[in-house]
């Protein structure tokens, strides 16, 4: 079992240490001065590793293992958890960390990644999406579009892509009218089918068009869409309703984002 995992990690044979890019998702204290760091890597997906002594003031790891950091890491294999021996920051996203709203969006992004992924499950496109999203958060003020685009593509890479072309019950092509979105069936319902489903919520034509576009276009195109306040709220509610249904719980950082909006 152990051998399988290890050989997968290095690709060739077993070595005692390996190097990887990583985005730090979370840290928890372990004893007096150590931390358990949860990272997202391109080759191995989510991993947990120990950063020894990182709570000490002079620690060489210190700021290089803070969440919302893109690092190059050297890890040594441990019996249970691997140990981070070196970490050099590639990007610390200063524009994101120096702004309350952007940092809070960052927390939300990391929470989604952490909630939806399991350890040791490689997903390279998801790593790229996460990294691109954090860069966009630094450069672009359009945080709502960035978040919705991230949510849609996150679901895409995880196999939860919502079906937005045909009614998921009767297969009829969706018409230009008020339709319904059903989180339970993961897609759109025509007005006839939608009215009979208690969990489905109405979805406007504009919102549907934008979701369809964002699902298939690149971010440069996605950000050109100008959203009114009503539409922005509708998109947010649809996406977060779907995510809540998939996780079967609230995303905790959402309530913090709501508090900041007040």
């Amino acid at each position: 079992m152990k051998t399988d995992v290890s050989s997968k990690k290095v690709g060739t044979g077993r070595s005692r240490s390996y190097q990887t890019q990583a985005i730090i998702i979370k840290q928890t204290r372990l004893g007096e001065v150590d931390k358990i760091i949860t990272i997202y890597t391109p080759e191995f997906g989510k991993l947990k590793a120990v950063a020894k002594g990182s709570c000490r003031p002079g620690s060489k790891l210190g700021g290089n293992v803070e969440p919302l950091t893109h690092s190059l890491m050297m890890l040594a294999r441990g019996r249970n958890l691997d140990i981070i021996t070196q970490s050099q920051a590639i990007d610390v996203f200063p524009a994101l960390k120096n702004d309350l709203w952007r940092t809070s969006c960052g927390f939300y992004i990391l929470e989604l990644i952490d909630s939806f992924t399991v350890e040791n499950n490689e997903n390279h496109p998801l790593f790229d999406l996460l990294l691109d999203t954090l860069h966009r958060m630094c450069q672009d003020d359009n945080s709502e579009t960035i978040l919705r685009y991230f949510e849609l593509h996150l679901l895409n890479y995880l196999g939860y892509r919502p079906q937005l072309r045909e009614c998921v019950i009767c297969d009829s092509p969706v018409k230009q009218t008020f339709n319904f979105f059903d989180p339970d069936r993961g897609g759109i319902l025509c007005p006839g089918c939608g009215q009979e489903q208690p969990g489905a919520r109405p979805l406007s034509v504009d919102a549907l068009k934008i979701l369809r576009l964002w699902q298939s276009c690149d971010y440069t195109t996605a950000r050109r869409v100008k959203l009114g306040a009503g539409l922005r709220l509708e998109l947010e509610q649809v996406m977060q309703g779907y995510i809540k249904y998939l996780l079967q719980r609230e995303v905790k950082s959402v309530s913090w984002l709501e508090e900041l909006k007040k």
């Binding site: 003031p57 210190g62 960390k97 309350l100 905790k252």
Partner: protein
């Protein structure tokens, strides 16, 4: 039949619940107390009891204290126009040891952590802003930890305090004594450069 006498087993179990103490350490501590003089064991028991009986939170700064208001808030010699905001009661002794701060404190009892569901309502933030309303406070020093949660909390406090027109400062960020430039992270090194001083 019990292998270990009940009082010993109970004590071992109690020690085992403490952070960082496993079953073996718990046993060692319990047997040490069994062999130690009566006074030592009694002193420990009393210390634990008084801790729970007498300690409460100061109604002004929310530091842990035996008298309310706490000794720092009572002290007329201290500068009550400066409030240093810290995360935990544990953060006050090191600041006091520097001997450089003569103002008063405010303990938040945590930091904003959206991922764990901790927002402003779970911290003593409302209490801080009501302390700032009467205009006697001239400066608030934000001394939350220089990590992501601490920074988020500091930025949120700035947003609340800024409209009141009170001076807000943040503990300087820089290189710790005895460290190595080579291993400093970009965030710290960048700040250290920006906040460099005349030498």
């Amino acid at each position: 039949m019990m292998i270990v006498a009940e009082p010993v087993a109970k004590l071992v179990e109690a020690f085992n619940k403490l952070p960082g103490i496993g079953p073996k350490s718990a046993q060692r501590l319990a047997y040490y107390l069994l062999r130690s003089p009566d006074e030592e064991a009694k002193a420990l028991a009393e210390a634990i009891l008084t801790l729970k009986e007498r300690i409460r939170l100061c109604s002004i700064c929310f530091n842990i204290t035996v008298c309310d208001p706490c000794l720092i808030c009572q002290d007329k010699e201290r500068d009550h126009s400066k409030i240093c905001v810290v995360e935990r009661p544990l953060d006050i002794p090191p600041l006091e040891r520097t001997g450089k701060y003569k103002g008063v404190y405010h303990v938040l009892h945590g930091t904003i952590n959206p991922v764990r569901g901790i927002g402003s309502a779970e911290l003593k933030i409302k209490e801080l802003s009501s302390r700032l309303q009467d205009g006697s406070v001239k400066e608030v020093i934000l001394a939350t930890n220089p990590n992501l949660e601490g920074e988020t909390t500091a930025m949120y406090l700035r947003r609340i305090i800024l409209p009141l027109g009170i001076r807000i400062s943040r503990l300087a960020r820089g290189l710790p004594f005895g460290s190595d430039l080579e291993y400093a992270d970009d965030m710290t090194l960048g700040q250290a450069l920006e906040d460099r001083r005349e030498f």
